[in-house]
Assembly symmetry: C2
DNA sequence: CGCTTTGCCGTACGCTGTACGGAATGTCAA
DNA sequence: TTGACATTCCGTACAGCGTACGGCAAAGCG
């Protein structure tokens, strides 16, 4: 019984919020490409065309659920030390994007940012400015951090396995056999190394994040 | 007259390569969502179902053109100094992904990497290993660099303007007016700053890239 | 000659997003 | 009370999608 079970007959009236939330749940459950207006309406116990009274387009619906995802990310705390604030924000954001992998690829085509997205960018810039980054450096830092976050999430989403246990099985059973060791020596070396000590996306993310934070701190001090 | 103009009657026989190349051209011209099997076949002067003799699926076709895009990226030179090699590779990759922005979002759902993709990963690892990165650090470095690259390309693709001249117009006409200065003070500050000195994605990318390369070099020496 | 293989494609099925027009319901003025 | 109107809902229809299926023509081969 995920959410409410309302197979036939939507007693509660439709609303933009209800539509968006249900769409988000559907995307999480079956993937973004399985989200259709008809299916969403059926899930809500409504006719397909009824949705269009609460959402202009399917595009607008996608914009809406992407902004819902961004709203799940913890805002950076303004009064905290900047590296700690940024670190907490980034870790939260990675976890959220790992929960909703379809959201990352959606950003590419979506040019209009919703209120939650804007709020995050604003809070991020505020933290950096308060920490002493000059405007231009703050912009650079913002781009760098966002790029790392989105890129990492994108790569993580495109991994063909879900957890660490899947990884071991997949690597041994699929990757290594089809990876010619003579053609790709370094890749097989990397795969076997990862196989031995396991692979944790969160730890991998933290490693790069700390490298970046150090580099930014050095950048900040050199003004 | 982009490519050949063969409106009616495909004289040359179909082939996997011809199909993929035409699909790539179509995606570049009209965006990935406008690429349909029927339209592609029409463009090639063939029936829709003929394509399926050279490509298993539409999925396989997308896999194919993504790998074509990767093949456009310059491989890192093995004998060069590692920072220079990585830098050249990254700059080339960003330019290529900016030319084919649809390819970035496509990676997310595509789990099977083609030969060109594998070749790049292999060459990258080889450069890092030869430079003295221990296996584990090389893997970290690879993830970090790929993440930055993909994330930056993703953000660049989602910008609502194409060139620097568009940027000035868009910012002044659309962003700043709709950006409440009291609600988003830091963002408006950033927008006006960028408006004054212009905005160049390639320079922005290079800035973060050099920060990362410095950090990785420090990481490498601390072994 | 017959036979199989190969490349091609016409048709059809079930799906998609959504334009359009009509029906039901709630709200307010006269 | 009655009429007018706005809001919400939805049934139908249309163009387009990916592709399963079966048929057609030419080529290669005994």
């Amino acid at each position: 019984m995920s959410a409410e079970a309302e197979g036939a007959g939507g007693q509660e009236p439709l609303s933009r919020e209800r539509v968006l939330r249900r769409a988000l749940a559907l995307a999480d459950a079956d993937g973004i490409e399985a989200l259709s207006m008809r299916k969403l309406a059926r899930e809500l116990g409504a006719g397909a065309m009824s949705l269009y009274h609460h959402v202009r387009d399917k595009e607008a619906l996608l914009d809406g659920i992407v902004d819902l995802v961004f709203a799940e990310i913890a805002l950076p705390e303004a009064q905290a030390e900047w590296q700690a604030a940024v670190r907490a924000w980034a870790l939260s954001a990675r976890a959220v994007l790992a929960r909703h992998p379809w959201a990352i690829g959606l950003m590419e085509s979506r040019t209009a940012s919703g209120p939650a997205t804007l709020q995050h960018r604003e809070a991020m810039m505020a933290v950096l400015r308060r920490a002493g980054f000059p405007i231009r450096r703050a912009i650079h830092a913002n781009w760098l951090l966002d790029s790392y976050l989105y890129g990492f999430a994108l790569q993580e989403a495109s991994l063909p396995f879900a957890g660490a246990e899947d990884f071991a099985g997949m690597t041994e059973a699929v990757f290594l056999p089809q990876l010619s060791a003579t053609e790709y020596p370094c890749l097989t070396e990397a795969a076997t190394a990862l196989l031995q000590e396991g692979y944790d996306p969160a730890a991998e993310f933290a490693y790069g994040l700390d490298l970046i934070l150090d580099a930014l701190e050095r950048d900040r001090r050199s003004t």
